[in-house]
């Protein structure tokens, strides 16, 4: 074994996984709620596709990372 062997660890400390998953999922669900509220309250003519797409994209990023951290925090090391 080389004397200068550098141990490789996870890029994010393992102890942060549960906290990060809660916050990311919370923000993601709030954004999903705001997306559906926007859909429900505006009429078909005055909807803006850009706003819908942006809200959807940001919400899916947060939900994606949140569900990844949820899987890691519950012991399924993917």
């Amino acid at each position: 074994m080389a004397p200068e062997a550098k141990p490789i660890a996870s890029p994010i400390p393992v102890a942060w996984y549960p906290t990060l998953s809660v916050f990311a999922l919370a923000i993601g669900l709030v954004l999903t709620a705001s997306f559906f509220i926007y859909e429900a309250t505006t009429s078909r003519k005055s909807r803006s596709l850009t706003k819908e797409l942006i809200t959807g994209a940001v919400a899916s990023v947060f939900l994606g990372f949140g569900s990844l951290f949820l899987l890691l925090a519950s012991g399924v090391y993917v």
């Binding site: 550098k6 959807g56 994606g64």
Partner: protein, 467 residues
């Protein structure tokens, strides 16, 4: 032009000189063993033979190879051969390991198998050296009687030779056999033989020619646990997100004298010193420190009779199978645990990552007939290679696990006849670009985004039948 000719002559002279050592290589049978001491340890199911050989060069040219011979039956059972040379005097003795490899000799009798030990420096004429050899043999103790009842003690045969089998001429030799207890049923007498306590001494014998062999049988009592793992499959799954998950599938058997008759639990529990002396019910597994999520289960379900103790340097898992194991009985179970990845995964100076893990079975004092280690590398790993301190069979496989698209590469290492002395670290090298770690969250993000796109598309499309 003038300088080329002397240069060519110099090159020619140099090439001729370098051929001389090859011409002068002598037959290694010039080496004579002046004193051989063989100590055989029969106290457990694994037979350990320690040979101390004082070698002298009686030929005319330097010799650098010492040969060891084994009868064909013993070679199949040979798990490990290690040789070392003692350097220095009494207090400052150090052992330098020597290379041992199998070899062939055209005039060896009757399928004797040979191993050659390469000495540190070639021995000059009438120079001496001391070589220490360790041999580990498995499945060498034959239970006789082959079937015993619950209240009988286990007796085993050990077949060997009073004269050490060797292609070299041995001037003087002695063999010491250590039995597990003072109860020795019988042993072959090859004069001079002496039996005192737990030691049987054969010798000293003087001036025996090469390849001389004198078979002996020692029939002694051996109640040490004959725990043999017939098949062990260890799977090590590496996750760069922080954890190493290990799953081990064991097929454990008691390889001693078979149990015949009835098993009486009452007699077993009321008289433990007479009943079931050769059986075992506890097994100890030595695991690395900082182990978490340990489970011990079999096909029926979880087995709760286990204890885990650990400190900062090691963890010890003591398991108790559902029933004590008597001769011929088997047990199958699974042990799994997790380890932090930073203790085992390192970055080598050339940029590759490597896993440094220990080969062998974590259960102490067991023989593994067939060991398979599968190292599952994360998705996106390239060029996997394995480096082990002894010869193993390797090949690659693919495994599909959580969030996998192309599958994970699995490096499979197989070895037969593994003993606790094989528990040394091995390395698996691979290349991994850290950007591939983002593949998993991106996959999840894409799935959620597709759901949102579906919603947007549904809300924008006009499906009404009338304007």
């Amino acid at each position: 032009m003038a300088g080329v000719v002397p240069r060519l002559l110099l090159v020619l002279l140099f090439s001729v000189i370098t051929q001389f050592p090859l011409l002068a290589r002598s037959s290694s049978l010039d080496l004579q063993i002046t004193n051989a001491e063989c100590r055989i340890d029969l106290t457990s199911q694994i037979v350990k033979v320690f040979l101390t050989l004082k070698v002298e060069n009686t030929g005319t040219s330097p010799a650098s190879e010492l040969l060891l011979a084994f009868p064909p039956r013993q070679v199949d059972r040979l798990a490990l051969v290690k040789a070392a040379c003692t350097v220095g005097k009494k207090k400052k003795k150090t052992y330098v390991p020597l290379e041992v490899k199998p070899t062939e000799l055209p005039d060896a009798p009757n399928d004797t198998k040979l191993f050659s030990i390469l000495l540190l420096n070639p021995l000059k004429t009438s120079e001496t050296a001391t070589v220490e050899v360790l041999l580990i043999l498995t499945h060498c103790l034959e239970p006789f009687p082959a079937e015993i009842s619950q209240s009988e003690s286990q007796l085993v045969y050990y077949h060997d030779s009073a004269i050490i089998l060797s292609p070299h001429y041995i001037k003087q030799q002695t063999t010491y056999i250590k039995t597990p207890s003072t109860k020795v049923e019988s042993y072959t007498r090859v004069e001079p033989t002496n039996h005192a306590g737990t030691q049987i001494i054969y010798g000293p014998y003087a001036d025996r020619p090469p390849y001389s062999f004198s078979p002996i049988i020692v029939h002694s009592e051996n109640n040490s646990p004959f725990a043999v793992v017939e098949e062990l499959v260890r799977e090590v799954e590496i996750s760069h997100w922080g954890s190493l998950q290990i799953t081990e599938h064991y097929k454990l058997a008691h390889a001693g004298a078979h149990h015949k008759g009835v098993f009486s639990r009452v007699e077993y529990q009321s008289r433990p010193s007479i009943s079931g002396v050769s059986s075992f019910k506890h097994l100890l597994a030595r695991l690395p420190p900082r182990v978490h999520s340990v489970y011990y289960r079999d096909e029926i379900g979880n087995i709760s009779s286990s204890h885990l103790r650990g400190d900062s340097r090691k963890s010890e898992l003591e398991i108790e199978p559902r029933y004590p194991l008597f001769g011929g009985w088997k047990a199958t179970f699974v042990i799994g645990y997790g380890l932090p990845v930073e203790d085992f995964l390192f970055e080598s100076p050339d940029g590759r990552r490597y896993l440094n893990f220990s080969f062998g079975c974590p259960v102490v004092e067991t023989v593994v007939d067939d060991l398979t280690i599968k190292v599952v590398l994360p998705e996106g790993s390239q060029d996997p290679t394995a480096v082990a301190p002894f010869p193993v069979d390797q090949h690659l496989e693919t495994k599909y696990s959580y969030l996998d698209v192309v599958g994970r590469t699995v490096v499979v290492l197989k070895k037969k006849n593994v003993v606790p002395e094989h528990s040394s670290p091995f390395q698996v090298y691979y290349k991994f670009n850290p950007i591939f770690m983002l593949a998993e969250p991106m996959m999840l993000t894409c799935v959620f985004f597709l759901l949102f796109m579906g919603c947007i598309a549904y809300l924008h499309v006009d499906l009404s039948l009338h304007k």
